[in-house]
């Protein structure tokens, strides 16, 4: 039987993994929608409004899933991790409060106007609502990443009787890893959305949709991805250097490097063995890790064996999950690089229609990569969050000291319920996104025959509420 600590960790991990899928989409999709809306305002071309109309539906769906899974998390702080707020509540509290006050209400209220306000509000107010929703989601990301980064690299506090007290709010907000983590996540959101739009648009193109709305959505998405991916590789590198400075044990685990030494190879494949404290089946590029982390072959990279207590208890994170998550993230990123840059050739240089010959295979590749952003984002979060263990707040609070004393059986039962719901909802979400794409492609009417209601409402054909 697993204990409450492990079960609570799995539960929170499952919850936050499920949750992050949707903000990752809404943060950037809000700005893309604003772009479509502004282009429509500037050109008056229907294709921009077609793109807006389709993607606003996906936005609404993603937003709803983000809201309901986010509420779950705010309660789990209390139900499963009471020690977190009791120890660092003076810092986490104000940051979370500011997120709710400045971002949540803004998004929620203007989402109503953005989704349903046409015909009721003037065009400028609708554009403003779209802007405020995008701004709200980004502001929300800012506050939560401030808090998360502070948990990785705490600053601006002093401990009194085991409780953290703020001494410098600017140092708390602009803590050492915040600028890197925030940028990395915002760009990740941009990439996730561009591959989502590209994948779904490619799918519609393969189904025979020749509309301009699909074509400009595809082009916009590929252009955004092609620009963002090199930026992301650079930001990721900088973030890694920041981690090396403040959380060397995490970097040691990412590289599965056991001894602190120079000329450390970059491992392409390995099976880290924590019992024997060595790697099996290494496939490596000589000096690779030293070059990436220190920018020279003789660079010294910290090793995991430096982070072991006198009695042999490891003070570093579990190695395999961090090592492999990191590789999945980087591998997916390289796939994104290849596909988006190939797309620049396919969409702007190649003369033949995309649905013929090689172009068809390219579109299929995009469809396969529709949710690649999710994969990379999750793998990246696993790298950094598992990489923080055994700490919940680095140096201040361990994960096991924060957990509640709720019975393991209770946590197990809620965990199973959550897992079933999350799995079902994720599957349904993907299904409905493609269903909406199918419906948009075939032009099958959304409005069903409505029984006529009594006058005067009957004059307005009632569409299903959406």
């Amino acid at each position: 039987m697993m204990d409450t600590l492990l079960l609570s960790r799995i539960q929170f991990g499952a919850n936050i993994s499920f949750h992050i899928l949707f903000p990752t989409i809404t943060i950037a999709l809000g700005w893309v929608l604003l772009f479509f809306r502004l282009r429509y305002g500037a050109t008056g071309q229907e294709k921009w409004m077609d793109a807006y109309k389709f993607w606003v539906k996906v936005f609404a769906l993603s937003f709803a899933l983000g809201v309901v899974s986010g509420i779950t998390m705010s309660f789990q702080f209390g139900t499963n991790w009471p020690g977190f707020m009791e120890t660092v509540g003076n810092i986490a509290g104000p940051l979370l409060a500011y997120e709710v006050l400045t971002a949540f209400f803004l998004e929620a209220v203007f989402l109503g106007i953005m989704l349903f306000g046409t015909g009721k509000v003037p065009g400028w107010l609708h554009t403003l609502a779209t802007f405020l929703v995008a701004f709200g989601t980004t502001l929300s990301a800012f506050w939560i990443l401030v808090l998360n980064s502070w948990m990785h690299t705490p600053a601006g506090v002093e401990m009194r009787d085991g409780v953290a007290f703020a001494t410098d709010w600017l140092a708390i907000i602009f803590n050492p890893s915040m600028p890197y983590r925030l940028t990395h996540m915002l760009v990740a959101s941009g990439l996730t959305v561009s591959f989502l739009i590209a994948g779904v648009s490619a799918c519609r193109a393969l189904w025979g949709d020749k509309s301009n709305g699909v074509r400009i959505a595809l082009k916009s998405a590929i252009a955004i991805a092609a620009v963002l991916i090199p930026i992301q590789i650079f930001v990721g590198d900088q973030h890694g250097l920041n981690t090396l400075e403040y959380q060397p044990a995490k970097v040691a685990a990412m590289e599965a490097n056991w001894e602190t030494q120079s000329n450390v190879p970059l491992l392409l494949f390995a099976l880290p063995d924590e019992e024997a404290r060595e790697n099996r089946f290494e496939v490596a590029i000589p000096n690779g890790a030293s070059i990436i982390l220190k920018h020279k072959p003789s660079g010294v990279v910290p090793g995991l064996n430096d982070f072991v207590a006198e009695d042999g208890t490891p003070l570093h994170p579990p190695v395999s999950p961090v090592f492999w998550s990191f590789r999945i993230m980087v591998g997916t990123g390289l796939g994104m690089l290849a596909l988006s840059w190939a797309g620049v050739w396919f969409l702007w240089r190649r003369k033949a229609p995309l649905t013929e010959g090689l172009g068809k295979w390219y579109l299929r590749g995009l469809v396969a990569m529709t949710f690649s952003g999710w994969l990379a984002t999750l793998a990246g979060w696993y790298t950094t969050e598992i990489g923080r263990q055994p700490w919940l707040v680095t140096g201040l609070l361990t994960t096991k000291d924060a957990v509640s004393d709720v019975a393991a059986g209770m946590v197990a039962s809620t965990l199973i319920a959550y897992l079933l719901i999350y799995a079902a909802l994720t599957a349904l979400y993907i299904y409905v996104v493609f269903f909406l794409a199918r419906r948009a492609t075939t032009g099958e009417p959304i409005v069903r025959e409505e029984p006529k209601s009594e006058a005067p409402l009957s004059a307005v054909p009632l569409a299903p509420a959406e």
């Binding site: 705010s74 003076n90 509290g93 979370l96 109503g112 306000g117 009721k120 209601s453 409402l457 299903p464």
Partner: protein, 336 residues
């Protein structure tokens, strides 16, 4: 005034007030959303679409008041947050599942294939009902001092049903404002039928609390408190009678009075909530922990208060804008 010169006193009090206000706003505003969901099985498919349209632009913001309330509990009274939520572990989990079902059903019922719509309607109803019941259960257990015995669980089951009924009632009064013709007539009938449940629920809580807690008994019935507090139950009684009479006179020919039952119900909820708040003050965990003991550091509270005073008027302002934009009878909701 010593009270206002000591931030260790007035800050926790202010935050208890803010938290109470958020809970009250939540109970009224998401109360009518949830109520509309609980009434779903009694409506035809066409009516269901109209009912959804009456809450579609608002529900998300309404639910955010719950996040703010729980956030304020979390940030202002961290010690109480842990104690209360671990004691309410299971009902909280059931509520969360309910909120998830309700929230996603809004979207999926409009976007999934039409053949699946009836399943999402069911999910919308079940999610709304689960949420209302579990919140009522939590209220009951909270009143009973977060203790689980056969008697307290029985009491909590009763408050669960009463709160769900209360939500259905305020949901019906909301529909009276937002609908017309046959659906409005139906909503009036629902409200009439639900009024008895509201009376029963309020009576049960009012009687049970002083019986369970001698401290609460003392606060209400000792002289001179009984005089000061008398207007509260009397006003509630007057409102209930007004509702009983008023609902019989609806619909009125020019629809001028359609908003009255909702306003009266909101006032009733506020009075009941005020009574509960008075009963429990100064405790945040009943009989165990006061708001002054559980409060965060004054510095942290001050930071939040400054932000709150600045942002709250803006939130109320654009919430007002949204209700203005979507005022009047509910019409079909459509994207762009």
């Amino acid at each position: 005034m010593a009270f206002f010169s000591d931030p260790g006193q007035w800050l926790p009090f202010t935050f208890a007030g803010l938290m109470g206000l958020s809970i009250l706003i939540y109970v009224v505003m998401d109360g009518f959303d949830l109520g509309v969901g609980i009434l779903f099985p009694f409506a035809s498919d066409d009516e269901k679409d109209r009912m959804i349209a009456s809450i579609g632009p608002f529900w998300d913001a309404n639910e955010t008041w719950l996040v703010l309330a729980i956030g304020l509990l979390l940030v202002a009274f961290p010690a109480a947050h842990g104690t209360i939520l671990t004691a309410l572990y299971l009902p909280v989990a059931i509520m969360l599942v309910g909120l998830i079902l309700r929230g996603v059903a809004f979207e999926f019922r409009a976007k999934a294939p039409l053949t699946q719509k009836k399943h999402w309607n069911t999910a919308f109803f079940v999610g709304s009902l689960m949420t209302g019941l579990s919140q009522g259960f939590m209220l009951g257990i909270y009143i009973m001092g977060l203790q689980y015995t056969a008697a307290t669980v029985l009491f909590a089951l009763m408050t669960a049903i009463c709160l769900a009924l209360g939500y259905a009632f305020i949901g019906a009064t909301w529909l009276i404002i937002k609908t017309e013709q046959a659906l409005q007539a139906k909503a009036i009938a629902w409200a009439k039928a639900g009024l008895g449940g509201v009376v029963g629920g309020m009576a049960a809580v009012s009687l049970a609390s002083p019986i369970v807690s001698p401290r609460i008994f003392e606060k209400w019935f000792a002289f001179p408190n009984i005089i000061w507090m008398a207007p509260l139950p009397l006003l509630s009684l007057a409102l209930l009678i007004a509702l009983w009479v008023g609902l019989r006179r609806l619909p009125d020919p020019d629809d001028k009075k359609a908003w009255l039952p909702f306003a009266a119900t909101t006032a009733l909820f506020a009075l009941a909530f005020g009574g509960l708040a008075y009963s429990f003050y100064p405790y945040v965990v009943p009989e165990q922990l006061t708001i002054y003991e559980a409060a965060s550091a004054p510095e942290a509270l001050m930071i939040i208060l400054v932000g709150t005073l600045f942002v709250l008027p803006m939130i109320l302002g654009y919430t007002y804008l949204s209700y203005r934009v979507f005022g009047g009878k509910a019409t079909a909701l459509r994207y762009y």
